[in-house]
Amino acid sequence: MTVSTELELQSFVLLRLGERRFAVSANQIAELVAPSRVFRFPHRTPKLEGVILRRGRIVPVCDVSEMLLGKRLTSRRFYLIAVRKYGAQREWVAVPVTGECELIKAEMMAAVESDAPHVAGWLSHDGDVIEVLNLDAITPGPEQLLAEAAARQRPEARP
């Protein structure tokens, strides 16, 4: 292996949601924890189930299965605690996953314009082509609220 190819390899965490596998850049993952009690309270943000307590921190739980698979998965094996960027701020977000996670090194192909916003790139592993997730696009945040507001203001397309 040459030095140049070594430099292109990055670490990813492979996660399982139902029958599908996805990848997240390893530097965006804080830890993998067993499911714990979810505390629920009224709110209006879609995809957020509630919060968990982890090492004294209150961490929101964000179910991304519906967005990625088109159906909601109720079973969960772990919470993948990811670091979500909000401008200069970083916060933990717990993403429920349904199977084992795996740390791999792979080369990522960057996403192209035609890819969905939640795709940060693609990688090949064990004969599968796997989507690398853009966590900022699949977990809610103020920027999504702005996008929703802009979409509401946009005039509707007419035939």
Binding site: F41, R44, G56, R57, I58, P142, L145
Partner: protein, 177 residues
């Protein structure tokens, strides 16, 4: 040799909270934000009906001199199952009286964590933040978050209209007599 004076550990900043339930759900509010706690029954005589378009959570208003307090149904505000509400919190420095199921207990909070930024809808106006109490997480409500300036304007307009109708009715009655 002189030893450096050990730094005094600053006492943790605490805040007195009232834990209360709305439609079975637990919430907290700073006790300093609550001016009065009344039974809902005790208010029934003094409250008049009000109806502002698109604002179902406020059905009654309490007149106190030249001040009007709008009674907000907590269950409707939070989108919970409708509950009658047995007690009222008159909230300090607001025009809100909050209808709740009842008070759970009083407690002390040592740490308020900001609402995670993932929560990005109306709840950011509803809550000051979250606190962990006895291995549970409780949202701490914002006393000014129950009625927005726009909602207050709507209610004031409805109140004005109700007053106008009432005075017209009075005039008509006295003219008939």
């Amino acid at each position: 040799m002189r030893l450096a004076t050990p730094a005094k550990a600053s006492p943790a900043k605490t805040e007195q909270l009232i834990l209360f339930r709305v439609s079975g759900q637990l919430f907290a509010i700073s006790s300093s934000s609550v001016q009065e706690v009344r039974s809902a029954d005790s208010m029934s005589g003094g409250a008049t009906e009000i109806s502002a378009p698109g604002l179902r959570k406020v059905r009654h208003v309490l007149r106190r001199g030249d001040r009007s307090l709008f009674i907000v149904n907590g269950a409707m505000h939070f989108g919970l199952h409708a509950a009658e509400g047995a007690q009222l919190f008159v909230l300090r420095k607001t025009r809100t009286a909050l209808l709740i199921d009842g008070i759970e207990k009083m407690t002390t909070m040592t740490q308020l964590q900001a609402l995670p930024l993932s929560f990005c809808h109306e709840e950011r106006q509803w809550y000051r933040g979250l606190t962990a109490l006895d291995q549970t997480v409780v949202p701490v409500v914002h006393p000014e978050g129950f009625l927005s300036p726009e909602e207050l304007a709507l209610l004031d307009a409805a109140l004005l209209q109700a007053d106008k109708t009432e005075s017209e009715n009075l005039e008509r009655t006295s003219a008939e007599q």
